[in-house]
């Protein structure tokens, strides 16, 4: 069952010619965690604010649960939409303590009980009387989440909730927020420009660009099988190569050789295509069929990002990005051999890389 439905929603800000959100249609399932992912200016925040009711669509309609909340004849203001929201800078009411923030505008009868329950859920029992400025960044985040969940909203909207946290806390809070949302059982819509947040936290990722949806899929689908060049380059690092579908239909023939590929969109053999080969799918292997010379190697701790120059059949060269296990020792000028793993090779469209 769809909890949120956006039907050809368009929003143009006054004085700007191109729409911020352009005839966007999207269904979000009840209980799912969805991330709107994209670079700044792609319309993801506008989409979230349209769902919340802080912006009015110029065209199209939005429904939440059973009710149409925005449309040509319908308008429900934010306070009556039954949504909860977590803001980037938390936006805790600075003059109210934790309990008053979480219990803000709850019916008096159930307030105390609900505040205690929700603070328990976010692991902040006993912090009732603290003021927001007395809390750490992670604690403020939990209070903001508790406040958003306290009224049992149909949907929780989270606008870049991790952007203001530092790296360590961020990884920890992703897992925490995931747990809390699962326990609360609410539908959640995130906005993020950070692919690792999106991959870690979502059931479904919606990649957006210029106010339109580029691709919708599970984190795995988005990462392994990007449908477009934009998605391939925005989510993770990749090599884009020209090629054509192999004779068996389960491989692609590229300048660097034949690569196994399980994601060919069932295009007929021989069709010229662009192929995304993730750096992770190039595995160093002394027996591998491909060989090249290391031009650059960056040790990141989790892997070694190596730029390898490959001799092509036609005599030219191509640079490809290879992720190597960090225990290996790679220096510039080394000759290396590697092979291609099929899982991260995807055809992203017909024609050569533009």
């Amino acid at each position: 069952m769809a909890e949120i439905v956006l039907d050809t929603v368009t929003k143009t800000y006054p004085g700007i010619t191109s729409p911020a959100v352009d005839a966007l249609s999207l269904e979000i399932k009840a209980g799912s965690v969805v991330t709107l992912l994209g670079p700044s200016g792609c319309g993801k925040t506008t989409t979230l604010r349209l769902i919340a009711g802080f912006e009015r669509p110029d065209a199209g309609s939005i429904s939440i649960g059973e009710a149409t909340v925005a449309g040509p004849t319908a308008w429900v203001p934010p306070e009556r939409r039954g949504v909860g929201m977590v803001f980037q800078e938390h936006a805790l009411f600075p003059h109210l303590d934790v309990a008053s923030n979480v219990g803000f505008n709850l019916p008096r009868a159930e307030r105390a009980e609900r505040v205690a329950e929700t603070l328990e859920l976010v692991d902040l029992a006993g912090y009732d009387r603290r003021m927001p400025h007395e809390l750490s960044g992670g604690q403020q985040q939990r209070v903001a989440l508790a406040r958003a969940l306290a009224a049992r909203p149909l949907v929780v909207l989270l606008d870049e909730p991790f952007a203001s946290l530092d790296a360590d806390l961020r990884v920890h809070m992703r897992a925490e927020v995931r747990r809390i949302l699962a326990e609360a059982g609410t539908t959640a819509v995130f906005v993020s420009h950070d692919q690792s947040d999106a991959l870690a936290i979502s059931d479904t990722i919606v990649v957006m660009r210029d106010g339109r949806i580029e691709q919708v899929g599970s984190p795995r689908e988005i990462y392994q099988f990007p449908h477009t060049r934009f998605v391939a380059e925005f989510v993770g690092r990749t090599n884009l190569l020209a090629g054509r579908i192999g004779e068996d239909g389960d491989s692609v023939v590229t300048d660097i050789g034949v690569a196994p590929c399980r994601h060919t969109h069932d295009l007929p053999p021989g069709t010229p295509v662009t192929v995304s080969v993730r750096a992770d799918s190039l595995e160093l292997d002394a027996e591998g069929p491909l060989r090249g010379v290391v031009r650059e190697a960056t040790y990141t701790g989790r892997s070694i990002d190596a730029m390898v120059e490959i001799q092509l059949a036609d005599g030219g060269t191509a640079d490809v990005l290879v992720h190597a296990h960090p225990e290996q020792v790679i220096t510039c000028g080394d000759e290396v051999r590697f092979r291609v793993l099929p899982e991260f090779v995807a055809v992203i469209g017909e024609g050569g890389p533009g």
């Binding site: 009711g53 929201m85 803001f87």
Partner: protein
């Protein structure tokens, strides 16, 4: 048709129309603020061609000359004093800099009509100077020179404060660059520092000009006729239509100055980069004591002597029983009308400021401008407009103390708006949105979340309006019901009959109260 209206509305509000009730309330407030001035302009259309022609031929040229020459002269002196003092206090090794920085701003706490009274006591035909020297000063205080002197002495702090603030923000990078290119200290001052200060000096000068155009108390006390006093006496003679004609000319003059200021600001804009290191101090050497003497002399003329006069006569007054039941009655009246104005201003400022901050758009900017009408234009004009308007549409309010409070609100609401606005700027709009998704309507957000958060700004704004209202003279004189006296009115009445021992205690109370908001002003600059 309906679609066109909706599009115009969306355009005016930048696509974010606010809550309907909120925009209606804010629009009403803005209209009330602009109404008195608008009504004066409207009424002037009924003055008739003959009256217009006669006034333009006979009165206006003389008034233009007396007003503009006074404004230009005062501004020239105020700029010279203000810039020199600001440079000495911020850029040289003058002894006691910290003390001078705030004491030199103190003349702002002395309303110029009080200063004028003090100088009549000292320099008047029967003043102290005559007592000491046996003859009054060669130039009468009741003259152009007298008005020029008094107004300059009590308005130079506008230039001093604005220029000083710019000097302390300017840092030393540009000046050091000029030194490295071969300029000496005086060359730097002339070719770098002063040109970079031009917009700040201009801003200070505009404040001085606007004050001189609007001043009624000082020029009337010194019997020098400018537009404001002419309008006042025209009304005393019940020739209100002539008063509207003169008002329209004065409004045009004021708008001209405001327009020139906007134009000048657009042309010259220097952005200070980051938080600059303070500039090196110029060593005055042998000039140190001369400079100190100059500063002390200015302070004596603008603060010590006038306050000394007030204290002298207050001591006599208290001994003579000036602080009787009537005095406390005046004080109570003052507190009532000023307090009422402060309360109303605090309530009225928030909707206008909130729209401006949260729905930045053509419409909210226009409402804000309208609300500034009574602040930018002279108090006599506001009073004139309220008399017309009150007699016709608010007979239940006309001739009551409430009318005086309304005049104060019209004149000083922008002070509360500025103060509340700077508090509101510190509250993220996300706070409002968080309250909305928690189920509050737009009006409930203002009442339950925004009001407690901007309370400091609201209270400061209320205090500013209160103090300005205590000082206010022309609107109070014109609108008070018969027999309703405030401290300012008593100062005016007693001083005009030379009963200084009764005027001084009230004036001293006004000055004491006026020192308070000065601290707020100094914190801002």
């Amino acid at each position: 048709m309906k679609a066109t209206l909706a599009r115009i509305r969306a355009r005016a509000w930048n696509g974010q129309p606010p809550d309907g009730r909120l925009s209606v309330v804010a629009a009403l407030i803005a209209i009330v603020m602009a109404m008195p001035v608008a009504y004066v302009v409207w009424r002037s259309a009924f003055a008739g061609v003959d009256r217009w022609a006669r006034l333009l031929d006979t009165r206006v040229p003389g008034l233009l000359w007396s007003t503009v020459s006074l404004a230009v002269g005062v501004t020239a002196i105020a700029v010279a004093l203000g810039v020199a003092l600001a440079w000495l206090v911020h850029r040289t090794d003058l002894p006691g800099q910290r003390i001078w920085r705030w004491t030199l701003a103190l003349p702002l706490a002395i309303p110029p009509y009080v200063g004028a009274i003090a100088y009549i006591v000292v320099l008047g035909p029967r003043g102290w100077v005559r007592d000491w020297l046996g003859a009054p000063p060669p130039v009468s205080i009741y003259s152009f020179a007298g008005a020029l002197f008094v107004l300059a002495v009590f308005t130079y702090p506008y230039v001093f404060l604005v220029t000083g603030a710019a000097l302390s923000r300017m840092g030393r990078a540009h000046e050091e660059a000029a030194r490295s290119l071969g300029l000496g200290p005086l060359g730097v001052l002339r070719r770098i520092t002063l040109p970079m200060l031009r917009s700040a000096i201009g801003a200070g000068a505009v404040l001085v000009i606007l004050y001189v155009l609007s001043d009624f108390g000082a020029v009337a006390t010194l019997r020098y006729t400018t537009f404001t006093s002419a309008i006042y006496y025209q009304m005393g003679g019940f020739d209100t239509l002539s008063a509207t004609v003169l008002s329209v000319v004065l409004i045009a003059l004021t708008l001209l100055v405001l327009g020139a200021e906007t134009f000048g600001r657009r042309r010259a804009r220097f952005h200070p980069s980051g938080a600059p290191r303070p500039a090196d101090l110029v060593e005055l050497g042998g000039w140190r004591w001369t400079a100190l003497g100059f500063v002390v002399a200015v302070l004596t003329i603008s603060v010590l002597l006038p306050v000394g006069v007030l204290v002298y006569w207050s001591v006599i007054g208290v001994a003579e029983g000036a602080l009787d039941a009537r005095f406390w009655g005046y004080a109570l009246n003052t507190a009532q009308v000023a307090g009422g104005a402060a309360l109303v201003s605090m309530v009225a400022a928030l909707p206008v400021v909130y729209l401006r901050s949260r729905h930045a758009s053509l419409a909210s900017a226009a409402l804000e401008r309208l609300a500034y009408a009574g602040y930018a234009l002279p108090g006599v004009i506001v009073a004139l407009g309220l008399i017309f308007f009150g007699i016709r549409y608010l007979p239940w309010l006309y001739n009551t103390a409430g009318m005086i409070s309304l005049a104060y609100v019209v004149r000083f609401l922008p002070q509360a708006m500025q103060s509340t606005g700077s508090s509101l700027a510190l509250v993220s709009p996300r706070i409002d949105e968080a309250a909305r998704v928690s189920g509050l309507s737009p009006l409930a957000v203002i009442a339950r979340v925004i009001t407690p958060l901007v309370r400091p700004g609201l209270l400061a704004g209320g205090a500013l309006v209160f103090v300005s209202s205590i000082k206010e003279l022309p609107a109070t004189l014109l609108l008070r019901p018969a027999g309703f006296d405030t401290l300012a009115v008593r100062v005016w009445v007693e001083a005009s009959e030379s009963v200084y021992y009764l005027a001084a205690p009230a004036a001293l109370v006004i000055v004491a109260f006026s020192v308070l908001p000065l601290k707020w002003l100094l914190d801002r600059y």
